[in-house]
Amino acid sequence: MAQSNFDRRRINGPDESFPPLFEADEEDPVHNLPRTRRGRSADDIRPIFLKAGLISQANGSAYIETERTKIACAVYGPRQSKTTVYSENGRLNVEVKFAPFSCTRRRAPIRDAEDRSVAVQIHQALWPSVRLELLPKSTLDIFITIIENDGIEGCIASGSVAASAALADAGIEMLGLVVSCAASTIGKEIWLDPTEEEARMASGSLILSGMPALGTITNVWQSGRLTPEETIQCMEACQGRCLDIHTVVAQALLDNAQVT
């Protein structure tokens, strides 16, 4: 849609500009529900590439890539809290930023509600795992930049994995690594780790975050239309997958620690 914000701190283009309209496609994926998933089975997740320590300026960092989702995360802290109010426990501050070229339609560099809701989900997923009682008067700042976006579910899931890996890279004491997995219901099937297209076709989606090391769940976010039985099924499927993701993340952190 038209973006007519004149931002005096940036170079501005014309008042209004529109994303290009394409000729109608022959196949309209929204209305045709494919019987089977394209390219992988219902409970296959996309391969994860995770590398820690790429951002040298930060205390800890991680970069995660799952096919078309690319997220960079940096942790700064523990550093002194700006507020004068004494807080016995440390603060965890998560900020998410979408790069303007990360989505199909260009996003204005101004932060909006979507950034905030992704940040809140990641904060809720991570908060139980960090030992904030050991960091009085301090703040942990987690900055996440989404370089390429393939669906909000993928962003929240990969973002929380990257943030947890970055916290581990920074040497912050935690109870366990947090990993997340997303699931969508398409017809009668449950597809794990949906892409943007798949999530749009689904009747409902669910993202589960947990600490496989302790066997606990830290955050569940469900949207769309799911019956309680489907919800439980999705959660169980995600939990099972989280164990595999945890192994991948732990291995990546171990490799990184051995190199340096």
Partner: protein
């Protein structure tokens, strides 16, 4: 002096824990003296010569949501640039010209000195300088972005985000922006006179017309004596003068910016820096890097 020499020559060997701690504490408390010790040996804290650049790596086309993209790593400084194309009505007084809108963002993720919030002064200044260079050099002739005279033109939003700031973001960003523009492929657009709308084809994509490929070289003068090339984030605050020279692939001068007095050892260094940037070796590397993409 012995400690400094030991640090300078031991980039591969490991120091005992105590010495490393002393060196990093000294660096934090007396950065200027630390830097001077290295310069006395004609070296810099990361082991480079005074006129040596860091290793540059360039990766294009990895972001599928953008029409063109590039990732540049200049040592540790990492900049990602993406080009998004949209359609707009042209200005009344230039009905055949499209728009090129470059922007650089230095978010809080890239360095502890940037706080979250609106663009800092540094980001604004760099964005402005990049805009000047890309427009003045005429990297993309704006008339090539015209779809229908007076009705529809392409707007190219060239957005660069710094992921890791280790000094010299300007050179890295210019390289990333030019590489991303070269990588950009626009869909073929047809303007329908009756409906007044432009439709694009999903099948045909055409590359942009690029007329010049500018690249820049940044220098800094320390203490009125030494000239260093490609400063890191540790060296940048210690330099009292910074010079940036932008040249194109034929050695033509595009832009020169100087902040500070520009005098080293009693002589004006501006012409030396310009000559350095026009050095055939540098241009060869430029052209070589471009041809690979």
């Amino acid at each position: 002096m012995a400690a400094a020499a030991a640090i300078a020559s031991s980039s591969a060997t490991t120091l005992p824990e105590g010495d490393t701690l002393k060196a990093s504490t000294f660096q934090r408390l007396h950065p200027k003296a630390y830097f001077e010790r290295f310069l006395a040996e004609n070296l810099r804290p990361d082991g480079r010569d005074l006129d040596e650049w860091r290793a540059v790596s360039l990766n294009v086309g990895s972001i599928s949501t953008a029409d063109g993209s590039a990732l540049v790593r200049l040592g540790d400084t990492t900049v990602v640039c993406g080009v998004k194309a949209e359609i707009a009505e042209p200005e009344l007084d230039s009905p055949e010209d499209g728009f090129l809108v470059p922007n650089l963002d230095l978010p809080a993720i890239c360095s502890p000195k940037f706080k979250p919030g609106p663009p800092t002064e540094e980001a604004q200044v760099l964005s402005d300088r990049l805009n000047d260079i890309l427009v003045a050099a005429g990297v993309v002739p704006l008339s090539s972005l015209c779809i229908e005279r007076g009705r529809a033109v392409w707007v190219l939003y060239v957005d660069a985000t710094c992921i890791n700031y280790d000094g010299n973001a300007f050179d890295a960003t210019l390289l990333a922006m030019v590489a991303a523009l070269k990588n950009t492929r626009l869909p073929k657009a047809t303007f329908d006179e009756e409906t007044g709308r432009t439709t694009c084809s999903r099948k045909t994509r055409l590359p942009l017309q690029i007329s010049r490929l500018p690249a820049s070289m940044s220098f800094g003068i320390f203490d009125g004596t030494h000239i260093v090339v490609d400063p890191t984030s540790f060296e940048e605050p210690l330099l009292e003068t910074t010079l940036s020279v932008a040249v194109d692939e034929n050695g033509g001068l595009v832009s020169v910016t100087q902040l500070g007095l520009g005098i080293a050892r009693g002589q004006d260094v501006l012409m030396r820096c310009i000559a350095s940037a026009k050095d055939p070796l540098f241009l060869e590397c430029l052209v070589g890097a471009r041809k690979d993409r």
